[in-house]
Symmetry: C2
Subunit: 370 residues, 2 copies
């Protein structure tokens, strides 16, 4: 191991987000993080937990919606009740992470937190662990730290982090400052990024002293910080429920990238550790197909427990949650998702458009299949 375990380190797993682009596999009551998308035999949530225990031990806090309490505790029987933070309603990543940080800093003023989404795929746990350890060392030096993934292709589906100067931090030889965050680019820009070797994918992983993170939030978004701190004050007390019920609805929805990371980068307070491991947020079915075809674009990937698929010259992805016989004839790059009450047929090129189908379904009032 690169550095010893820091007992002040706490991993936060925000388990939010339905994964609309993965409908009809992902549903409101069975979101993306509950599915075994990586083919490990475990849900992405359990994979995330298992990836973090070598680094954080039992110091793992899960933040999820009240609707998913039962399934999350079923997936993670080892999770202590005190380490499960339930959101009454979704308020995006800033509220989830800040509340966890605020609760933890009250339990341990030296807490260092690291936030890792419940529904991402990482292939190399050892390299991931090394990056997190460098990030912890950098956080101890006072930075807010992100882990940016070394791009393997000019993806237009991810945001990018532009790296700046190397930082001289003990235990973090690869730490650099962050010049700025860049939104999902056009292809030609993405190609320049990959060629230029200064840009990393923004994987949404943030590591910081809890107190530093909350100070930044208070500076840039007091409208989020104030109710979050007030809720945290009441969290480990009999006033929790009343305070949550009163203040949670007032919290603005904002992603942590906008609320904290971007202003911190501008202020020179953001550092980045390059992650030299395979990472994917499996944002749509095209990404899911790529994850499983191992670069062979001409195969038909089939996922599902009782999958009966007959392939006659087709390629792409079949996800089956039924026992129906699925015959796929001649179509290339197809995406078929077969569930008991809903069927999706699209292809890789159009995989991002699935989100708008979900909006159409909501508009037509067919919420039973969402």
């Amino acid at each position: 191991m690169a550095t010893a375990l820091d007992s002040n380190f706490y991993a936060i797993i925000p388990a939010g987000g339905v994964g609309s682009r993965l409908w009809p596999l992902s549903r409101a009551d069975e979101p993306k993080f509950l599915h075994d998308l990586a083919g490990t035999g475990n849900s992405l949530l359990v994979d995330t937990w298992n990836r973090l225990t070598p680094i954080a031990g039992n110091n793992i806090v899960v933040v999820c919606g009240v609707a998913h309490k039962a399934t999350v505790t079923e997936e993670l029987p080892q999770l202590n009740a005190v380490d499960l933070i339930l959101e009454p309603s979704p308020k995006d990543s800033t509220a989830a992470i800040a509340l966890a940080a605020a609760v933890l800093v009250r339990r341990n003023p030296d807490a260092i937190i690291g936030s890792f989404a419940a529904d991402h795929v990482i292939a190399d746990d050892r390299r991931f662990g090394n990056a997190v350890r460098e990030a912890i060392a950098t956080a101890l030096a006072g930075y807010i730290v992100t882990i940016g993934i070394r791009p393997t292709e000019p993806s237009t589906a991810f945001g990018y982090i532009e790296t700046g100067a190397a930082l001289a931090i003990d235990g973090a030889p690869h730490a650099r400052s962050v010049s700025k965050f860049v939104e999902k680019p056009k292809l030609d820009v993405a190609i320049d990024y990959v060629d230029g070797d200064r840009h990393l994918w923004n994987a949404g992983m943030f590591i910081a002293r809890a107190s530093v993170l909350l100070d930044e939030l208070r500076t840039h978004r007091p409208d989020v910080a104030e109710p979050v701190e007030a809720i945290a004050d009441a969290w480990d007390s009999p006033e929790r429920d009343e305070t949550v019920a009163r203040l949670w609805p007032t919290i603005p929805k904002v992603a942590i990238d906008y609320a904290i990371a971007e202003p911190a980068a501008e202020a020179g307070k953001l550092a980045v550790i390059p992650g030299e491991f395979h990472w994917d947020d499996i944002g749509d079915f095209a990404a899911l197909a790529r994850l499983h075809n191992h670069g062979r674009a001409n195969v038909l990937v089939t996922l599902g427990e009782n999958t009966r698929v007959l392939n006659e010259g087709a390629s792409g992805l079949v996800v089956s949650q039924t026992s129906r016989l699925i015959s796929v004839v001649g179509v290339k790059d197809i995406v078929i998702v077969d569930t008991p009450d809903a069927l999706l047929v699209t292809n890789s090129t159009n995989a991002q458009r699935v989100k708008s189908i979900v909006e159409s379904i909501r508009a037509m009032g067919a919420d039973d299949v969402l």
Copy 2:
């Protein structure tokens, strides 16, 4: 009407053939002719019956497999038991039509028969009727007569009839001799056929005096004619079942095109009436899509009673026999056939390959979905 109804005319409707290329819509126990593919509200079988009654009155005989007796009589409650000929096993079109002709000629030696498949679509019943009346007049002059469809495009899915000299037949101003039958051609050949104006589509409709048809069969295929005649001798007697059981299995399987029409054409005994109406045998899902998109290649045709389809920029065909929500995103020219136990996804280009899927399913022993 072009000519008065000839009371010696009998329509034969061979209701055979599963329609493998329309799997999983067509099944062994629910073949193509039982489906409402034309969107008329009736099965193709009932459409065929309704098209023939203005010409043949009650003189309509249906030939079908024993397995379909119940469904056929349910579809056609007006069909007299004496006019339903049940095949113990499928023996292709020659046996079916010849047996019906042989039974009918024993009941009426002057019988003229006309054979019309149970699972074709015809758009203009009046023009169809006119062609049949000309065919009857030509059959009365001693010819075996086919109705050939004027091609509207250089189809490579149909066989063609090369027409010869005009025949001078009373009541059949458009009758011509047939030079020869041509198998499904390559596209460049088909283009020449359409440009040349001498070729018609072979729609498998045959009209002849029953005695003439059976004489031809006896000449060219005595191996079919002999058992068929022997069965017909016993048909309206107590010996029917025993004779059928003994002789039917010995009958060779052969299409009437090969057994009778081609040799009759060579012998100058075949005539053709050009059919100036829209006809389609709906041989595959591409044909079914074309039938319903009315030339608008960019629409998504949806067929099915409780169809719930959400279309986001897709085109092609969705056939739904379930109440599932089907979302189709961005894929062009797609074919989706959704049934309770089997799903097919292909596209128009590959629609003909569905037949081989059915063979694969049989090979893998999944006969439950055939």
